[in-house]
């Protein structure tokens, strides 16, 4: 009945043996061949995630911008004080009424494929962002646009309303200029005029870039006047923090984004360098559902602020690699003034928090019950846990929920739409190159529906766009004063996401520019 012949049995055993033998052979061969180290003409940079895309008009994440920063250029550039400098545009002017911007495009700016980055190419970018077919998230970011025209080397950008943040926005990575040859029908291949040209992309594995030999630098913070010193740039995905550190230590990668504990260890090790993005433009903050009682009362909102020790967040949650901040506008951006913000906002004072809540009927026997939502990012969950304990000291019973981003967004949108039920405290962050992002956060409808429907405040947000210079700074101060005195926003720390990098100590010339964008133009290896 069980007709197992020697032949069949021998075949089965042989096949199994061969398979195991191959596996063993590979292992032995590997031991003999050793591990290939990174070549001297290649920088390998390891990150925990892959970019979502390289179409600058469609993707919005920092992790995507970090690669686009290498491939593309911006119309203008920013120095470390936030002052505007030439980029693809060698100069610009703005009409007295603030409605017409004229950008004169530098002659001879070449794209990686030999086409030109000229006035027509710039117009193509600005028009494409406005196209309903593209549905760009940035369609409203460059002002209320009337239209764009080309006059010789000039791009004339016409607005329906003044928008003074425009030069700062055009100086940052949120307003990238791609080369029109990037789009061929339905196909997209990143072509830019930046320091590196796109070579290949294996999704979730690596993006390979190559130095653009014809690159001419105009960025004020970059010392190298021409093409990057190191020919190849590989941006690799290594999701696990321990593996990224192992790869850095073995020399398999030259740069890696460390976890917070690893960054603290490497910072103390003379064999490594840790970079912390002083120009991150990032701001982490706490908000509350101000439409739901008791947060419709300013005392309750400010009580939350007094309950929070932001230094504990920065020092313990972020291992001292982030800094406590007091302004809604991120450090280094126009309008930010930490001393003024301290006067308007709240600092850690649990007695004050308890006293304010007692006025509203809350105390040890009747704590204020809230939902407390934060997104799952390194440092943020530790910070939220610390805050939850601090809330408890001030008789706020916070039910902490650490969610991935999509679920957090849904929860925040739902809570901000209600006027009753369980109130919520939430942590989130925002980054940009200009304090105008407060319009996105708190204008109507606002980020996650948190817009503040107070007409005077909404008017302040509109007015700051029409002002320039010190008048604008003063108006931004008014906006921040409203947010801080009203307890709508409780700034916590800066920076807070994708802002850390580490390398071996023999690396020179690496730094990061606005919104934590890495720059490799000047990198050399000693």
């Amino acid at each position: 009945m069980w007709d197992v012949t020697n032949q069949r049995f021998a075949r089965t055993i042989a096949q199994t043996g061969i398979a195991v033998g191959i596996a063993v052979g590979i292992a032995v061969g590997t031991v003999w061949s050793g591990v290939v180290m990174a070549a001297g003409d290649t920088i390998t940079y390891a990150r925990p995630q892959d970019s979502e895309g390289l179409d600058a008009h469609k993707v919005t994440t920092t992790i995507s911008f970090q690669v686009m920063q290498q491939i593309y250029s911006t119309l203008l550039t920013l120095d470390d004080k936030g002052k505007v400098h030439p980029g693809v545009a060698e100069s610009y002017s703005v009409s007295d009424d603030g409605l017409t911007y004229r950008f004169t495009i530098r002659d001879g700016v070449m794209c990686h494929d030999g086409t030109k980055m000229d006035a027509a190419a710039v117009k193509w970018n600005l028009d494409r962002v406005q196209s309903p077919d593209i549905a760009s998230p940035f369609a409203s970011s460059y002002g209320n646009v009337a239209g764009t025209t080309v006059e010789g080397r000039d791009v004339v950008y016409q607005l329906n309303e003044p928008f003074s943040p425009l030069p700062n926005i055009f100086g940052g990575v949120l307003a990238i200029m791609m080369c029109p040859s990037s789009v061929q029908g339905d196909d997209f291949t990143p072509v830019g005029s930046g320091p590196y040209k796109f070579v290949s992309w294996e999704r979730n594995n690596k993006i390979v870039l190559e130095a653009f030999d014809e690159y001419v630098n105009v960025h004020p913070l970059v010392k190298n006047p021409g093409a990057p010193y190191v020919k190849n740039l590989i941006i690799k995905v290594i999701p696990e923090g321990v593996a990224r550190m192992a790869a850095l230590k073995t020399g398999e990668v030259d740069f890696a984004e460390p976890s917070l504990p690893d960054a603290a260890d490497l910072d103390a090790d003379p064999n490594y360098k840790v970079y912390t993005a002083p120009l991150s433009g990032q701001q982490g903050y706490t908000g509350v559902t101000y439409r739901i009682p008791p947060f419709d009362d300013v005392r309750a909102r400010r009580a939350v602020g007094y309950a929070i020790d932001r230094n504990a967040c920065a020092d313990y949650g972020f291992q001292g690699l982030s800094k406590a901040t007091h302004c809604p506008i991120a450090p280094g951006l126009p309008g930010e003034d930490q001393e003024l913000c301290k006067q308007w906002g709240t600092s850690y004072d649990p007695d004050k928090a308890r006293s304010l809540l007692a006025e509203l009927g809350y105390g040890p026997d009747n704590p204020l019950k809230v939902a407390f939502e934060t997104a799952q990012l390194q440092g943020w969950d530790e910070c939220a846990t610390i805050m939850q304990q601090q809330f408890k000291e001030s008789y706020i019973d916070a039910d902490l929920r650490i969610n991935e981003w999509a679920a957090w967004t849904e929860a925040a949108v739902e809570a901000n739409s209600r006027t009753s039920g369980l109130p919520m405290i939430w942590n989130v962050g925002m980054s940009g190159t200009d304090g105008d992002y407060l319009v996105f956060l708190w204008g109507m409808p606002g980020a996650q529906g948190a817009g503040i429907d107070v007409p005077e405040f909404q008017q302040m947000l509109v007015d700051q766009r029409a002002l320039t210079g010190e008048a604008r700074i003063a108006k931004l101060h008014e906006v921040q004063k409203f947010l801080l005195e009203g307890g709508y926003e409780i700034p916590l720390f800066s920076p807070g996401w994708f802002w850390l990098s580490a390398s071996k100590a023999n690396v020179e010339g690496f730094f990061q520019v606005q919104v934590a964008m890495p720059v490799f133009n000047d990198v050399t290896f000693n």
Binding site: D3, V36, T60, R203, N205, E252, W405, A406, F440, G443
Partner: protein, 308 residues
């Protein structure tokens, strides 16, 4: 047999369509709006009208049942749609990483079967002795060790300390440690299943008859005991292989192995609906194919099993 295969293929097709429709409806229940995820932290100042336009362009303005129906129509014509986030064709993206997943799954199965089968065989042969007890203790340990922990330990030892293997390469050398990590866990399962099956077979009358006829123990084990016990082993191998083809996310993350599991996880976190549906379609296809192959293998192993 031909009729059986045709019947199974028809049922497989229905299963796949039901899976796609079911997932297409269910993913909209999960909290999280892909448009809000897209806007992210640097999302500019999109007005409500522009947000609605984004939904229109992505097809999210249509009723859920219509979105699902359109997706099914697309799949039937060979189009698995575009990723909402990367704009890349879903089919191309998934099939690009499928070879890596296949390589990892096969390698892990080689380790699992190569180690587990002899282990279970020997444990059954030495049933109720100290050898059996030690081997089964090893098997329990193998199942109990978290893959995350084992993977990191192997990585730190072989890659960082010894420098023998790369941390995160993308060639065959990078396959060894993840294959061992996965293989160790599943070898324990294969060993236990083999042992149980062989012990059962050893108690059968035909084994007693073979021994009574004076056959050597080696011939009794090789010619009479092994093949019938393989049916249970084939079952577990098929189930495990199907699981691995869905992507061993933890191991892929630890070793930066660019497989389908990581891609699927990111799609879920982003609420990239077409990518999620594409992944489910491929995963369900693998399960169905493995199931058919297993059933046909049973018939080869056991002549008593016939399909009409």
């Amino acid at each position: 047999m031909t009729n059986y295969i045709i019947r199974r293929l028809v049922i497989a097709f229905i299963t796949l369509m039901l899976s796609v429709i079911g997932v297409g409806l269910l993913i909209h229940i999960v909290p999280g709006d892909p448009v809000m995820v897209m806007l992210g932290k640097n999302g500019g100042s999109a007005t409500p009208e522009q947000i609605e336009n984004m939904r229109r362009v992505l097809g999210l303005d249509k009723p859920v049942w219509l979105q699902t129906l359109n997706y099914v129509k697309g799949v039937l014509s060979g189009d698995m749609g575009q990723s909402m986030f990367t704009d890349q064709p879903v089919g191309k993206t998934l099939f690009n990483v499928l070879p890596a997943t296949l390589a990892l799954a096969f390698s892990a199965m080689v380790v699992a079967v190569g180690v587990g089968l002899p282990l279970g065989f020997f444990a059954a042969y030495k049933h109720n002795t100290w050898v059996d007890n030690i081997l089964m203790l090893v098997a329990v340990l193998g199942v109990s060790i978290p893959q995350f922990w084992l993977g990191l330990i192997l990585l730190l030892f072989f890659s960082l300390t010894l420098g023998w293997l790369p941390v995160a390469g993308d060639d065959y050398r990078s396959l060894i440690l993840p294959a061992i990590t996965l293989g160790v866990t599943f070898s324990a399962i294969v060993a236990r299943m083999t042992r149980s099956a062989m012990i059962e077979v050893f108690s059968e009358d035909f084994i007693r008859t073979a021994r009574a006829k004076g056959l050597t123990e080696t011939i009794v084990l090789r010619r009479h005991a092994l093949k019938p016990s393989l049916i249970a082993v084939i079952t577990i191998v098929g189930v495990v292989f199907g699981y691995l083809m869905g992507g061993a996310v933890v191991v892929e993350n630890v070793f930066s192995w660019n497989g389908i599991g990581r891609l699927a996880l990111e799609a879920v976190l982003r609420r990239d609906y077409p990518m999620i549906q594409g992944f489910i379609l491929i995963f369900a296809s693998v399960i169905v194919i493995v199931s058919i192959v297993m059933d046909l293998t049973y018939a080869w192993l056991d002549p008593r099993i016939t399909y009409d």
